[in-house]
Amino acid sequence: MSAIVQFENVGLRYGLDSETLSDVSFSLANGGFYFLTGASGAGKTSLLKLLYLAQRPSRGVIRLFGEDVVTLPRDRLPGFRRRIGVVFQDFRLVPHLSAYDNIALPLRVAGMEESAIDAPVSEMLNWVGLGDRGEARPATLSGGEQQRVAIARAVIGRPEILVADEPTGNVDSDMARRLMTLFEALNRLGTTIVVATHDLPLIAQVKGAQMMKLDKGRLADPTGTLRYPPRSQDRQ
């Protein structure tokens, strides 16, 4: 199975501060399910930002879908970003848009016909249990509801990579289980999943997932971090 993400000696520095990420090297198999763990401030969110192309590294090489994205021209980035779904830690819902319009955002950005948007968005709203709250603005939704909208928005475009930063932080354990079930279903359809979380029971829930641990900006024990065999290898 080919690598969909490759980091080689990646370093990230904000301004003149010391490096937030240092010498990070790893490779994610296409169709794998990965958890990223580490203490607060270990650099999980920074690593995810590099992954979903919100940031370029200070050094090193990052390859996504087989192409070096560090030197990629700006005008080619949107095409790559449309292949990546992101659940932000702070949700980043557009405040003046309804839950429905927030979820429809990636489809509209990708230029999907308006008539083709309603069915998947309604289905997704129902799936995250917000079927009757489609017209609600984010400010009127609870933290958990906002997170569910953010997750629905991230997965609606059937991304090739799904990146989620603490996606279960604001939902109850039942919803957390349902979300993981959705992620696993997406994973079975071929989406590579990367979830940053502190929630160890959640990690244990997904059989065959692999785990990377960040410690002070470095991958702890780089040779032994992939704790479980990749799902892609299971299949082979």
């Binding site: 919100a54 940031q55 980035l77 095409g79 970003r81 449309r82 980043r92 557009v94 509209r108 016909e113």
Partner: protein, 301 residues
């Protein structure tokens, strides 16, 4: 039908990506003021240019011959001889004596009734119209010819009287054009500031759109549409008020009955230029907004 409805729905959905309402606060009002002043300046410039053209056409090839003789019967005899000589001169299309009564009427505001009493030696005037082309040389020839006829004859081309006024009107016309240019630059600057402000205040939404895969052009289109609408509103308002003022000034000028002020008018070409100003204003605002937002987006990843 369905596809049109679909397109409308898509446009409406896309337009919702920025909050409803104006994006740049008081921009329509500022644009309205700018457009008001621009249209007035342009109208002044175009009106003065029409006046200069009309004056030049009226004065080109015309001259006055003065018969400066204190003795009235001798003046009348000399005027008659001069008139006859002028009418036989090549290059003179027409020569007509100015009615002494009309001349006295024009002098009355300064000289009172003495102008027509005969006590004051008012020169006799002959209005000369030359054939077209090479006016200066023809006037010089006439001057020499009249000097041979009598030393009491003088000739003055009309253009010489009004040359300083025509120069002043031309300068005022250029000044108006300069004001229009400054207004265009100021409008562009206002739009740049408004677009930057709008971009900054919607930074969160823009970041999300970027991370979803929106291109810079997709995002810039949202802003240029909103700012274009604001500019349309402001331009229409400013143009309407300016039009009202121009019409009122035109009515006042006509009522004054002055030949000089009456020449300050707007022909069809001028009205077309004025009507194009709001359209150009909207175009300028839209393109400036697009350029500003694209530049700002270009600085992010």
């Amino acid at each position: 039908m369905a596809s049109r409805a679909n397109r409308k729905a898509a446009v409406a959905a896309r337009n919702r990506l920025l909050p409803e309402g104006r994006v740049a606060g008081p921009m329509p009002w500022i644009i309205a003021i700018m457009m008001f002043l621009t249209v007035l300046s342009a109208a002044a410039g175009l009106g003065l240019s029409t006046a200069v053209r009309s004056m030049s056409a009226d004065l080109a090839g015309r001259a006055s011959v003065q018969v400066v003789e204190a003795d009235a019967p001798a003046r009348d005899r000399l005027a008659a001889r001069t008139l006859q000589a002028l009418r036989q001169t090549p290059g003179v299309r027409a020569a007509d004596p100015v009615d002494p009564a009309a001349l006295a009427d024009q002098l009355r505001p300064w000289l009172g009734d003495a102008a027509s009493s005969g006590d004051l030696p008012v020169p006799a005037l002959i209005d000369v119209m030359l054939t077209p082309g090479d006016t200066d040389a023809k006037v010089d020839r006439l001057r020499r010819q009249l000097a041979g006829l009598s030393p009491k004859l003088r000739i003055e081309p009309h253009a010489a009287f009004l040359l300083p006024l025509a120069g002043l009107l031309t300068a005022l016309g250029w000044l108006a054009a300069g004001v229009v240019l400054l207004m265009v630059l100021a409008t562009g600057a206002v739009v740049v500031l408004a677009a930057r402000g709008a971009h900054d205040s919607h930074r969160g939404t823009i970041d999300v759109l970027h991370l979803m895969g929106s291109t810079d052009v997709q995002i810039a289109r949202l802003f240029q549409r909103r700012i274009g609408l604001d500019a349309f509103l402001g331009s229409a308002l400013g143009f309407a008020f300016a039009l009202l003022v121009i019409i009122l000034i035109g009515l006042r000028l006509s009522a004054m009955g002055s030949d000089l002020l009456g020449a300050v008018g707007l022909d069809t070409r001028s009205w077309v230029i004025l009507a194009l100003l709001p359209i150009l204003g909207v175009l300028l605002a839209t393109l400036t907004a697009r350029w500003t937002v694209l530049r700002a987006l270009g600085r992010s990843l």
